[in-house]
Subunit: 385 residues, 2 copies
Amino acid sequence: MLRQVVERGPRSRATIAQDTGLNKSTVSSLVSELMEFGLLVERGAEHRGTAGRPGLVVDVARDGVIALGLEVNVDYLGVQATDLAGGSRYKAMEAVDNRGRGVDEVFEALGALTQGALNEVQAQGLRPIGATVALPGLVDIRRGALLVAPNLHWTDVPVVELLREHIDSTTLPISADNEANLAALAELWEGAATEYSDFVYVSGEIGVGGGIILGGELFRGYRGFGGEFGHTTVEVDGRPCACGSRGCLETRAGLEPLLAAAGLSAEAVTTRGAGKPVAELRRRAEDGDTAALAALTECGRWLGVALGTVVNMLSPQAIILGGYFAPTAEWLAPVIASELSARVLGGNGAVPPVIASRLGAEAAMRGAAATQLRHVLADPTLVAI
Amino acid sequence: MLRQVVERGPRSRATIAQDTGLNKSTVSSLVSELMEFGLLVERGAEHRGTAGRPGLVVDVARDGVIALGLEVNVDYLGVQATDLAGGSRYKAMEAVDNRGRGVDEVFEALGALTQGALNEVQAQGLRPIGATVALPGLVDIRRGALLVAPNLHWTDVPVVELLREHIDSTTLPISADNEANLAALAELWEGAATEYSDFVYVSGEIGVGGGIILGGELFRGYRGFGGEFGHTTVEVDGRPCACGSRGCLETRAGLEPLLAAAGLSAEAVTTRGAGKPVAELRRRAEDGDTAALAALTECGRWLGVALGTVVNMLSPQAIILGGYFAPTAEWLAPVIASELSARVLGGNGAVPPVIASRLGAEAAMRGAAATQLRHVLADPTLVAI
């Protein structure tokens, strides 16, 4: 019932009774309970096409609960608070090259960002119900630990435990997951892929991440480490990759090789924040700068090679480009499409559309917060005090 | 109930009643019906640990129904008849390079093989309940048509329709599927993967095929063309592939480049039948022949590169090697394992075991026949006359 109000908008108790098949007194009693939990509110009048006394409607409590989506990435930290209606209630990002910092220093900074967000939302009268941390590497979701993050050179970091040490709350539920997995879920739930059930999400950051959605669910694989498109081998004896292998896609399509090929200094990446060098690259490409255009074409070609393999393997409905691949999609997507039509077995019927994310740099954090909120939609008693 | 007898062996009506929770008269009535359908028979005595009068047992009717598994591959045609107990009741293979023949000629030959099998099993008193054709390319399973078979240079072949023109029966159910998909199912049901629920199967023939099993089911992908590992790009500007692309795995790990690298003539492939040049290669490798060993190492390396990408994407429980990769697995598997440990993100916990098929060249045909038999297990009334 709560999910229905969240997904289809404010409605009267009578409408809910009609749509759910529950009787009116059951609906009234459930609504009262969800109002007590701070998940629903009563307000205004329901718009009706017909005449008659307008009834009260129940709506999602925008000023009830929120969840935090946190992110530790290679070159930034971030936090985002989302309410049950999907509204963003607080956000903060810190552009910083975490490769130059120790784990403790990073988690102290993430803890400060998190505590700042908690303080701010509580001052707004909102109630935090959980936090999920998006991470640029393989995650043991059961233990809430980062197993390996190649670009950070971190292994076995007990993320949930470390974060808890740096915030006041001892009871806030905290979980962790791979950033591209969470971003893929955000695309499914509220992004470019709401009409797709089976797609692959590939995102460009310092590393290249991926997420696979099959049948409307995140696919992790039996061992839990699926979707790592960034480590598709595109050159058997290629450039060394941070993961220890050679010739991985991210040695060609990660942000740094792209900027280097475009003649943008590597320093621009680390000193100006994740968004800015990409904005500069876009500007140059729009101005017809030869180096920028050639770099984007080259990057698109490598992406197309790797995605051709992905499509031959998974035969997906669509491909979603995230991270910096989204703002550069107008240059990358046609090159990718051309590689796909050359490399995918089965011709046009087998080649999926290539679509840019519209969630921007917040995709993973939005997916992280939504993961927590969806726990509440599935079981509202989780927020019973 | 039928599935229970097939999977767990002969048992008394009383045992069946106990295990299924059905009452004895229901079991007796079901058993009678399945005996009428020719699916169960009554025989012998059930072995009991305790004293007492031994009861009659019901068992799968080995002399009841059979299904045909047919295969059109690049360098052979084959047929295999399997009974409900999994026994092989007839088989025939014809080693012939189908690249030198037209579609009509091939289907005339396949029709003759099929009719020969039908005549033979009917002479044995067996009743054919369906046939599935395994094909070396993308299959539209709904239409029973081969969409594209790169190595045969065939497109849009109405396989089921063509086969029917060349056999006497107008009612035998016929379906078609990709050969590696069917072989992967055979591995799951009765081969090297019966203990796995999530694995990738990769097979070496003239082409390199693949099948993906997720959660105990064949994964086809949204567009239906998943599992095409053979067209994983391993060299971006590599050798031209029959599919029209370049640098696909099968340009390096297909049977012909392997034999060429080992110094075995290409003619050996086409004139001596699929099994023989591989037997010769094995013999040379066992004798320590340098060219044979180097060719196998090189082949294993390319397979390992492609499978590294597969594992990073799907995080499977195991990898099964089929086709000619099975009899050469003692040389290929260690090289593959070494590439995987270099290329798979997440270290040893992420690297799956690499296991050789034991079904030999019949894997796809066994899977094809079993697919038909499983329809009957799911719905025994399909064989009601």
